[in-house]
Symmetry: C2
């Protein structure tokens, strides 16, 4: 058993990639590579923070843990986001996330990533 | 963009597997299979909740999002757990998680799963 931290004190602003505004990242896993087919990280948005519109490389899940904000996907229409809400974005889908009050989200990316579907809810 | 929920209202107690005590699960991804090499789920422990001692099938990361509790790994020694703390457990490692006050954790499992290591902190 190996302990580590993903607390705000160890979070950082990544160099390169999408230019995040007021957002820090605390990764839980290594970046995606041949050995690591997926990655998970905690994204913390300060009030007014933003991930500007960009296409995701892989399918991804955005799961809001705390706070609230707004997201738009391929159609560009803003929709509210709050704790307990999750989104599945398809590979290459353009999206943007903004927040007035601040927001904490788990983001998971991976090839062929899918969301959980409750088989009990199937017709 | 597909919306779904992992709010407490959609969480459930899984049938079979480790007998959880006062713990519900809200999966974000499908269970592990050939198509899905990893799974991520939100575990919510009520006060007094417990995942009794058992060996994990895969390596796993337990990331505490809220609340606090205690964890023991292969050596059986209890250690405190609080929001911002994460653990990497190795494949087959025996472990137990308990909480007096309640706890919410993200659990990620997957073959060859590793934790993030900050290369800037390397010697």
């Amino acid at each position: 058993m190996e302990r580590f931290s993903f607390a705000p004190e160890v979070a950082f602003v990544p160099r390169g990639g999408v230019p995040l505004e007021g957002v820090t990242i605390a990764p839980l896993t290594p970046p995606i590579s041949e050995d690591s087919p997926f990655m998970a990280a905690i994204f913390r948005f300060a009030p007014g923070g933003r991930i500007p519109r960009h296409p995701g490389t892989f399918p991804q899940i955005i799961a809001v843990l705390d706070g609230s904000g707004e997201v738009s996907g391929a159609d560009g229409v803003g929709e509210p986001l709050a704790a307990g809400n999750a989104l599945l974005l398809s590979e290459g889908e353009e999206h943007e996330v903004t927040t007035a009050v601040g927001l904490t989200a788990l983001i998971i990316e991976g090839e062929h990533l899918d969301r959980f579907r409750d088989s009990r809810a199937a017709p």
